[in-house]
Structures are given as structure tokens and as C-alpha cells.
Amino acid sequence: MQHCSPEQLALAALREPLPAADAAHLADCAACRGEVAALQRAVDALAVPALAAPAPSVTPPPRVWDAIAAATGVSATPAPAPTSEPEPAPAPVVELRPRRTRWLAAAAAAAVVGGLAGAAVLTRDDAGAVVAATTLDPLDADESSGTAEVRERDGVRSLQVDLDAPSLGEGYYEVWLLRPDVSGLVPLGVVHQGANSVPLPDGLDLGDYPVVDVSVEPLDGDPAHSGVSVARGSLS
């Protein structure tokens, strides 16, 4: 077989699992293994827990600010550190190995929940036939939930999203369809509390993108997913 692609070798250097054929080739090919080792020198130097972010918060002793003020000549003073502990719980230390699979786990959990909810009775009314449905279940401690239904009318599909979620001071909710392994995502549009209807792209295979995801997006002009999902379900 031919050598692994440069992209696969780079992923191997990051210790991501490769497709079986590539993994088998890599095990037998000294040239490819040498390439991975050369790329891995940088990974091993930088991908260490001590450089990961975020770390649990630790209040520095007052002399740290005193030294900063002395070195910079700045006379402003920070508010004294709180004596009690009103800070949010410190973020956990990021374990660098094994790789985290939080997103994958969340999508898989959503798929299980959605499967159970998938017994939804298919109905037909003015808005068209319900061809797939799911409940949207809150992620983590979020209070957001709802339902999503794919409806088809005259050959045109739409996603009806009924969202029960807190109002946002800034930012907005957006609904997406994801692959179960989160290897791809399709933005569908802005949604609000209550009933929403967003059109589905023609030709989109819901078998490939069965996971309905609702995210909170900041008003920063960035069309990418913020990474902050509040509710999910898997269509069936």
C-alpha cells in the first residue's frame, strides 16, 4: 500500500487514532514512523499539562501585585482579593492524555436520548407531515430544552424548533445539524424562545446529520459555532 498522507501523519503525531488501513501501514513502515517521530518533537515539547489552559484559579499573595506596581510604576491598585470563596469553581486541570472526548460523549448521549424520544407519533397537519422528531435535552446544568420536528410539505422540508430557554442579555440562539461524531455541522439559523421554523437545505441527508444542536452565539460577527451548546437531541 502507498504511504500515509501527510495529513494522516500529522494527526498521528498528535496521537489521534488513524483509519485502520493507515494504522496498519504505519505499524509496518519505518519511513512513515520516522516522519511521525519528527513531527512529534514539537507536540511532545508543547502539549504538556503545565502549559494547558485553563488552570484552577489561585489568588496570588499581595506581594505579587506590589512587585508589579514597583516594576511598572503604576499607582492604581486592584480591589483586594475576596476573602470568602465567591469565585466560580475552578476549571478542572486539562488532562492532556488520553485525549478528551467531551464533544463525542455529548453527541453520543444525545443520540441515545433521541432514540428513546424517537417513538414520537408521526402526525400531519397544515404545516406538513412530521418525518422525524426529537426532544432537545439540556446539556450540563443548562435550563434550555425543547422539541424539534422535521416537517415535509410539498417536497420542502423544514425544522420546527420549540425552544424553552432563558432570554439572553446579549447574543442569540442558533440551531445546527451535526454528524453524530461532530465531524461536520450545518448551520440552520437563528432561533428564539417559543416556536420557530427554519428551512432545511435541499439534498441534506438527515441520516448523516441527525443531531439537532442549539448553541449560544455571541454577537461578534463570527459565523462559526461558539462551542457553547445548551441543548441537543437526535432525530429519528
Binding site: 498528535l14 488552570a55 492604581a76 486592584p78 492532556l96 462551542g227
Partner: protein, 211 residues
């Protein structure tokens, strides 16, 4: 809402959740602190320290334990950030993320300093000439870190953000694509090119660090 809190803390997005916070109402938001910091407003240095000093000191303590080295890292991070504030621009990303990048440099500097001290003390204790190439060896990984963090600073976006998510948040390429919305194939080719660039940097300049 863990992810959202991370986001507020680390990236300074002022995303309200309906759970209003008095603190955020009465204090300037992260963007305003960043702008005033860049403009040289001394109060903004104090506000940045209030808001992110604990997180940065937490990184330093995680690396070295509580004590003088960790305190030095936190001090030097804020001092360098303040004296180098002209190097901070909107393209540098949110101020707290920029501070975290400086903090990584300071941590790597302390590792390098400790490595120098180790070699000096070993040189005093041993007859180095009789054991060439042993006790005066630079710890390659320590030296690599200093070099590579410098190279990361020269990599533009989105390549830098992508490799940082892989290195420092341990996301897979699929997770990075989902997080950023950048197509999977693009993420993969950016990762490849960046790792090749870092390897070239090590091969060209890494050896030169050897004494």
C-alpha cells in the same frame, strides 16, 4: 453551564445567560479593559490583574507549586504585558488569551533557568572535561519549548488558534472543526502545515541551542 463560564473567564465574551451578575453590571467588560489596557490606562492593568491574575497564577502554581518561581511567573507576565502592550492588537485575540500566551513564555523561561542552574551546579561538582557531552547537555525539550513558543507567536490566524486547541486544549481535529466551524479538511491541512513548520524551526535552529 460550564462551557459558557469557561468562555467568559478565558475569552472574555460577555454572553449574558439571564442570570445577571451585579459585578458585570458595575464593572467594565473585558473588551473595555482590553482597550484601556492597550491605551496605557493604569487602572486597566489593575483591573486585568483583578480579573485574570488568579487564573494566570493558577497556571504558574500548577507548573511550579506555590512559591517564588510561581510568583515570579505571574509578576513577569503582567510586567511584560504592560511594557509590551503596544504589541497587543485586536488581531491578538481577547486580552486574557493573550496574557495566557505570555504566561506560557514565562513558565518556559523558568524551566530554562532551572536547566541552566542544574548544568552550572553539575559543572562545579564534576570535571566536565573528562565527561564531555554529559553534564553540560541542554535539556532538549526545555530548549525546544522556548523556541517553539516563539515560533507560535509568528503564526497567523486561524492556524495558530487551531494548533493551540490541539496542543493546549487537547481537542481532536474533528472537535476543532466543530468548535471553530472551519471545514474538517482545512483543519487537517492547517495542522499538517503548522507541525511541519514547527519541525523545520527545530531542525534549523534547535541544534544551534546546543552549547
Amino acid at each position: 453551564m460550564t462551557a459558557l463560564e469557561d468562555r467568559i473567564d478565558l475569552y472574555g465574551q460577555d454572553v449574558e445567560t439571564g442570570r445577571t451578575s451585579l459585578r458585570r453590571v458595575v464593572e467594565p467588560d473585558d473588551d473595555e479593559i482590553a482597550r484601556r489596557f492597550r491605551d496605557g490606562d493604569e487602572q486597566a492593568l489593575a483591573l486585568a490583574y483583578e480579573r485574570w491574575g488568579g487564573q494566570l497564577h493558577g497556571m504558574a502554581v500548577r507548573a511550579f507549586g506555590p512559591g517564588p518561581d510561581a510568583e515570579d511567573v505571574t509578576q513577569q507576565t503582567f510586567i511584560s504585558a504592560w511594557t509590551g502592550r503596544n504589541g497587543y492588537s485586536a488581531g491578538s485575540g481577547p486580552l486574557p488569551a493573550w496574557l495566557v500566551g505570555i504566561c506560557r513564555h514565562k513558565i518556559a523561561d523558568v524551566w530554562a533557568k532551572r536547566d541552566r542552574q542544574r548544568r552550572q551546579s553539575e559543572a562545579v561538582a564534576a570535571d566536565v572535561a573528562s565527561r564531555p557531552g554529559s553534564s553540560d547537555d541542554v535539556d532538549t525539550r526545555v530548549a525546544d519549548r522556548v523556541l517553539l513558543l516563539g515560533e507560535l507567536d509568528r503564526i497567523g490566524q486561524p492556524q495558530r488558534g487551531i494548533i493551540e486547541l490541539a496542543f493546549f486544549e487537547d481537542l481532536t481535529h474533528a472537535q476543532i472543526a466543530a468548535r471553530t466551524g472551519i471545514p474538517l479538511g482545512t483543519v487537517k491541512s492547517h495542522i499538517r502545515r503548522t507541525l511541519e513548520r514547527l519541525r523545520t524551526r527545530l531542525e534549523v535552529d534547535g541544534a544551534a541551542l546546543q552549547p
